[in-house]
């Protein structure tokens, strides 16, 4: 990834506290437009916490306090004038465990667009649902049963449904929190291909425990350890020629 791409998200000295417990010790990094960046690191290193800062999902956790600045397109996402609803429409999220609504497949996809008033007519909504499902590579599998519950799909299909659901509101950034950790290898590879296609249109930040996955899908990789950002760089460089001892130890499996 060339660093000439415009900066999409710029974080400066982000610290997160859960009550008295500090989870992040001042993270600074830039995320460029239309890149796939992956966060790796051992459990509890703060990578998911940092991911959740980017669409302020940490707001929903009690006693959680975030300091520092995160700019989205140059605008501070914590500024009072910015509604968190607007932010989350711009920065979508896919969770670790597939969490479709216990409603029909159609309703799962159409919920977001309806919420934000993106479709004026039923036909527009149908279009959004179809194109979102097509982009998530799920259309051919579900087009005949859009009225059936989304919870009746297989795990991999559910996760693609969740991806389709998040791209239905046309976000600019998609945050993925270990999206494949609950899936089998085949479903994982389908999602990885999907991520590759989606980066044409979206900026994708993905948290993963699977280093091969990070190597396969991402342009850049950031390594977190104990709430600190240890190293960030082009994926190839990080995996073949890490600058830090701790990074090297982690990717060679010496701890983690």
């Amino acid at each position: 990834m060339s660093n000439s791409a415009p900066v999409k998200i710029s974080a400066t000295d982000v610290k997160v506290f859960y009550g008295d417990n500090q989870a992040l010790h001042g993270i600074s990094m830039d995320v460029y437009q239309n890149e796939v960046i992956s966060f790796i690191g051992p459990s509890g290193c703060g990578k998911s916490t940092f991911l959740r800062c980017m669409n302020r999902m940490n707001d929903t956790i009690e006693h959680c306090r975030v300091t520092g600045s995160i700019l989205l397109d140059g605008r501070d996402i914590h500024e009072p004038a910015l509604d968190v609803v607007q932010l989350r429409a711009q920065v979508g999220m896919v969770f670790q465990k597939p969490n479709p609504f216990p409603k029909s497949i159609y309703e799962n996809i159409s919920y977001g667009p309806k919420l934000h008033g993106l479709a004026e007519r039923k036909a527009d909504l149908d279009d959004i649902v179809e194109s979102s499902l097509r982009r998530a590579g799920l259309w051919n599998e579900v087009k005949d049963r859009l009225d059936q519950p989304g919870t009746g799909l297989s795990g991999g299909q559910q996760q693609r449904l969740c991806i389709a659901r998040s791209i239905a509101v046309s976000p600019e950034v998609i945050l993925m929190d270990e999206p494949c950790s609950a899936l089998d290898p085949i479903a994982t590879s389908i999602i990885e291909e999907l991520i590759d296609e989606l980066k044409q249109n979206f900026t994708i930040v993905i948290v993963t425990h699977n280093m091969q996955q990070a190597a396969r899908v991402s342009d850049r990789t950031a390594f977190f350890h104990l709430g600190n950002l240890i190293e960030i760089g082009n994926t190839n460089d990080v995996f073949t020629n890490p600058q830090q001892k701790r990074t090297e130890d982690y990717i060679t499996g010496r701890y983690g």
Partner: protein, 456 residues
């Protein structure tokens, strides 16, 4: 090979020391498990048996009350006795008020008519020696039936001059006598019916004039003390109905709203902790205390009417509120947080996430909690005694602000009635009605839960 196949155990090596210990402990474990299983089964059987005893007892006692002794009489609506002017018609130049006034005067005039004469005249025709025992004669038919005759005339004055065959309820004591609920060998002094009356009743019963008929009196009439045979549950039923209406309209929406706020919106701090503790405390307050509260605050300060279902409903709402809140909160807690996150992640506001996704999933649990709370309120007696609902009310309330009784209170009142051998059956019949209401409420809860239940 064949030997091993026939008896493979011989081929297995002797169990190791660890295995021997496991095997030794197995017996003890199985014994404990069996004992526990039997204990549990016994407990279930005992409770089922007790429920069966309760139901058999109540139904065997209560069902006969739905059939009452009724006498078949040809009633001649004698114009000599019913001397009333024709029913007033509204004139063109007359205002509604004036007409209503005239109508009321006409009804008052009907009130003076001695409808009992119609009954005694009719009885005289079938009882040859009736004239010598006029006191007894007037007691054959229960006194409430004269109003039934009056209502027939008011509804259709053209009936005057005609003869109608009617089934009229007999006096409660006759019912007791015929059903064998009194010892027939008791001396005259201890019998509730005079010797002449007993002779009549036995004869009429043998002739088929007095028969045991299914009677709607129990359902259609309010309570009565002058005409025990026609005392019914309608007043108490409507009282309970209005109270449940108040509870459903007040306690359920307030409880659900409070639970949603406490569970989803309220910050966790000392104040909400205090509120939470007190809601749990409220659920444990003895119900009679709520009755005292209703008497002193609602009746004493706010001057709400005594014995009125509105007061009873408010008191029961207070009592039901914690039940609804606790049930709703635990249901909300059980909704997986991933659903909330999914909605929030798409850009739904907190309120939208709750109302679009969490509440629909919580509805079956909320409804179950609410209906069980209402059912509990329906059976509550103690607080109602303190706000005057145990007073005798001989009318069917037309609104929640009129005096009324309630089903469980009516059961309590009838249980204490002096005419035990008549009211024992009626009390059980009232319990049957109450139980049926409870069962249908619980059935509704189950049906709603099944209907709205979704898996995720």
């Amino acid at each position: 090979m064949t030997i091993i196949a026939e008896n493979p155990i011989k081929a297995v090596a002797a169990p190791s020391q660890v295995q021997q210990k496991v095997i030794a402990s197995l017996n003890r474990r199985h014994r404990k498990e069996n004992l526990f299983r039997r204990l549990g089964l016994t407990a279930v059987l005992i409770s089922l048996g007790l429920v069966a005893v309760l139901f058999i007892n109540i139904f065997s006692k209560g069902l006969p009350a739905f059939w009452q002794s009724a006498i078949t009489l040809d009633i001649y609506f004698d114009p000599q006795i019913i001397k009333i002017p024709p029913m007033p018609q509204q004139r063109d130049d007359e205002s509604d008020n004036d007409f209503r006034q005239r109508h009321i005067e006409w009804q008052t005039e009907i009130g003076f008519v001695n409808f009992n004469r119609l009954i005694t005249d009719s009885l005289q025709k079938i009882l040859p020696d009736a004239n010598k025992h006029r006191r007894d004669l007037a007691r054959v038919v229960t006194s409430g039936e004269r109003f039934a005759l009056r209502d027939m005339v008011v509804a259709d004055p053209s009936i005057i001059g005609q003869t109608r065959t009617l089934h009229l309820l007999t006096d409660a004591n006759i019912d007791v006598w015929l059903k064998g609920n009194i010892d027939r060998s008791l001396p005259d002094g201890q019998q509730q019916l005079s010797p002449k009356m007993r002779e009549w009743v036995d004869k009429l019963s043998a002739d088929g004039v007095i028969q045991n008929r299914f009677s709607l009196a129990l359902f259609m009439n309010p309570d009565s003390r002058s005409s025990l045979a026609s005392a019914g549950l309608a007043g108490a039923f409507m009282g309970s109905f209005y109270m449940m209406l108040v509870v459903i309209l007040l306690a359920v929406p307030m409880g659900v709203a409070a639970a949603i706020y406490l569970e989803e919106f309220a910050p966790r701090n000392k104040i909400t902790d205090l509120v939470e503790v007190n809601i749990n405390n409220l659920a444990a307050v003895p119900s009679i205390v709520f009755g005292l509260l209703g008497a002193s605050v609602l009746i004493g300060w706010f001057n709400l009417p005594m014995s009125a279902p509105i007061v009873g409903g408010l008191v029961l709402s207070l009592m039901t509120l914690p039940t609804v809140i606790i049930a709703t909160r635990s249901t909300l807690k059980a909704i997986p947080p991933s659903i909330r996150q999914a909605a929030l992640g798409l850009g739904a506001s907190k309120m939208q996430a709750i109302f679009h996704h969490v509440l629909p999933l919580a509805i079956p649990g909320i409804l179950t909690g609410a209906i069980l709370g209402v059912a509990q309120a329906l059976g509550e007696t103690a607080p109602l005694l303190l706000i005057g609902m145990k007073s005798f009310v001989a009318s069917i309330p037309a609104s929640p602000f009129e005096q009324a009784s309630a089903l469980p209170v009516q059961i309590y009142l009838w249980q204490g009635n002096e005419l035990r051998n008549f009211f024992e059956a009626r009390t059980s019949a009232a319990i049957i009605v109450l139980l049926l209401m409870m069962i249908s409420l619980n059935g509704l809860a189950i049906w709603l839960r099944k209907k709205y239940e979704k898996r995720w």
